[in-house]
């Protein structure tokens, strides 16, 4: 009896953890995209990047609200976003890297969008109804995101010499961060076994094939560099995240007990 209770508790903790991770991925990337506002190459892109940012921020809110509901401690979405320290955020590193130039942002979006296409399709099959619902909404959004990042990859890769060079540099710089997104730890393994979480390793080859096809069409080269940086899911972050959180959390933390 007590064993079963404790295992219940653990699996709930696992689920909360998993939901927070998905929320962190969405929030941090959404935040980075929101930095583009008033800085895009033309107005239409300001709007489009804002749309994508809004989708991600919206997704993070769904995740955090679900985590709040699961934890049942009276927490709110904002508690998770604004009161956790840098070491508690568990987003994949690729999401926290600075926005860089437009090529860098597009290359990251391409990698993430193709990833999400497969990830969310799999999450749609989750035995957890809320996660499946979040996935259903996310799939629609991802179709739009991926169309954009694919088209921009073609334009920039097959545009001018400069745009080609910038795009290739961005791809090379980001490549080392695309490995950890297919890996998982024991927490996620237990949830995968339970039919709740997604095993991204299952579609890694497909991801590579999809990305390679788009890059080839864009006259860009798939890197064969061997480096890989890991640690997001353990809260082991680059120096960029704490600076992002400094900005994001300041007002909230500067006025404790305030409502906004």
């Amino acid at each position: 009896m007590s064993t079963s209770q404790s295992s219940d508790h653990d699996s709930k903790q696992d689920l909360i953890n998993y939901v927070l991770r998905l929320g962190d991925d969405a929030l941090i990337l959404g935040h980075r995209l929101s930095e583009w506002v008033s800085r895009g190459p033309f107005l239409e892109e300001d709007i489009a990047l804002g749309n994508v940012a809004l989708d991600y921020i919206g997704r993070s809110r769904m995740c955090y609200n679900y985590a709040a509901e699961l934890s049942g401690e009276g927490k709110t979405e904002d508690d998770f976003a604004y009161l956790r320290d840098e070491r508690q955020f568990q987003n994949f590193l690729i999401n926290e890297l600075p926005r860089g130039d437009f090529a860098y942002t597009i290359a990251r979006q391409l990698f993430v969008d193709v990833f999400n296409k497969h990830y969310l399709s799999a999450l749609l099959q989750s035995k957890d109804q809320t996660l499946a619902a979040i996935a259903a909404k996310g799939i629609k959004e991802t179709q739009y995101h991926l169309r954009r990042s694919r088209e921009w990859t073609l334009r920039l890769g097959d545009g001018t010499d400069e745009s080609h060079q910038r795009m290739q540099t961005a791809i090379d710089e980001l490549w080392g961060y695309t490995h950890e997104i297919f890996e998982h730890d024991d927490i996620e393994q237990r949830l995968i076994d339970a039919g709740i979480a997604v095993d991204a390793a299952a579609f890694q080859k497909q991801w590579l094939a999809d990305v390679s096809a788009i890059l080839a069409e864009a006259t860009l080269t798939v890197p064969d560099a061997e480096w890989a940086v890991r640690g997001g899911r353990e809260g082991y972050h680059t120096e960029h995240l704490s600076l992002l959180l400094t900005e994001m959390q300041f007002v909230y933390r500067a006025y404790p007990n305030a409502k906004w």
Partner: protein, 322 residues
């Protein structure tokens, strides 16, 4: 045709044009219009467009620091709407025979203006609320009257824009309500933002009618539908109960209800300060344009790539077709 005939011809056209306007008919892009009407409209609509675009900056300054996820999303969507309005208004201006590139160049070299209110800095989160409430509020007073402006594309743009703006104004006021009814620090933040943005908002309506340069002809052409002072009065009157509801002090110590006029009498506006900011002494005049130029220049290679790609694609299509 002799010169005399030509002049007579133009006079006739102008009379017909004015008659259409008097009859509240809309002027459309392909219609004949006096050159001065066209120029005036380009000036007015592009200034409006530039204001939307430059206006993204002061509020955009707080997107990454918005103190709740909901506020963050709402603010981001709002600033995005401003980009949309800018786009929409640039398109309306383009129907008058000028390109977006020319409009942007005029903004950047200072020959075109934007609303001077955006030269004021956003110092605190409260300013995001105050801008939504007061600045958008003032803009709406103006824009509502422009829904009936004589130029078709502009009037239709205003109808669409007004809807979104009133949404923004409510959101700004919501921020103020949270602050004014929040902790003492928050209430102080709200009062401070109100104090700083109230007077500049009044100045958004422009100089008093007696001092306004373009007004008479613009009214005749129905590019303007109400005078600066009338619109300003409307705004002053509607703002009083809003400030009361917030429980904040009114920044105008001379404000007084005038039973006879059925309006509030207002304290004197510091026009010197207004001119001061317009003339380049605001906190952000340089910053706003430099920010815009920087983003535009950093985006040049992207626009070039897009053009190059489109050309390549067209060339490929042509060669396949051949």
């Amino acid at each position: 045709m002799s010169t005399e005939d030509q002049i007579e011809d133009i006079n006739a056209l102008e009379q017909k044009f004015q008659a259409r306007i008097d009859a509240e008919q809309k002027i459309e892009p392909k219609d004949w219009m006096p050159d001065a009407y066209r120029k005036n409209l380009i000036r007015q609509i592009s200034q409006h467009a530039h204001s939307e675009v430059i206006g993204m900056q002061p509020e955009g300054n707080w997107i990454t620091r918005a103190p709740s996820l909901r506020r963050k999303a709402v603010l981001l969507a709002k600033v995005q709407d401003e980009a949309g309005h800018g786009l929409y208004l640039y398109s309306a201006t383009e129907t008058l025979g000028i390109s977006r590139a020319e409009l942007i160049a005029a903004l950047q070299d200072g020959s075109a203006k934007y609303a001077s209110i955006f030269n004021y800095p956003t110092q605190t989160w409260g300013d995001v609320g105050a801008i939504g409430w007061l600045v958008d509020g003032a803009a709406i007073c103006n824009q509502v009257s422009l829904q009936r402006t004589s130029y078709g594309p502009y009037a239709r743009g205003m109808i669409r824009i007004c809807k979104e703006e009133s949404f923004h104004q409510r959101q700004g006021y919501q921020i103020m309500i949270e602050l004014a009814h929040g902790t003492p620090e928050q209430k102080q933040m709200a009062q401070d933002s109100l104090n700083r943005f109230y007077w500049p908002s009044l100045m958004m309506f422009g100089p008093h009618d007696s001092e306004s340069a373009h007004s008479a002809r613009s009214m005749q052409w129905k590019i303007k539908r109400e005078t600066n002072d009338d619109l300003r009065q409307k705004f002053i009157d509607q703002t009083v109960p809003q400030i009361e509801y917030l429980g904040l002090e009114h920044p105008d110590k001379d404000l007084k209800w005038n039973e006879e006029r059925g309006h509030y009498d207002s304290g004197e506006i510091d026009w010197e300060e207004f001119q001061n900011v317009i003339n380049g002494n605001g906190h952000c005049n340089r910053q706003r344009i430099q920010h815009h130029v920087k983003a535009h220049e950093e985006g040049a290679w992207v626009r070039d790539a897009q053009n190059a790609y489109d050309q390549k694609r067209r060339a490929r299509k042509a060669s396949t077709a051949a």
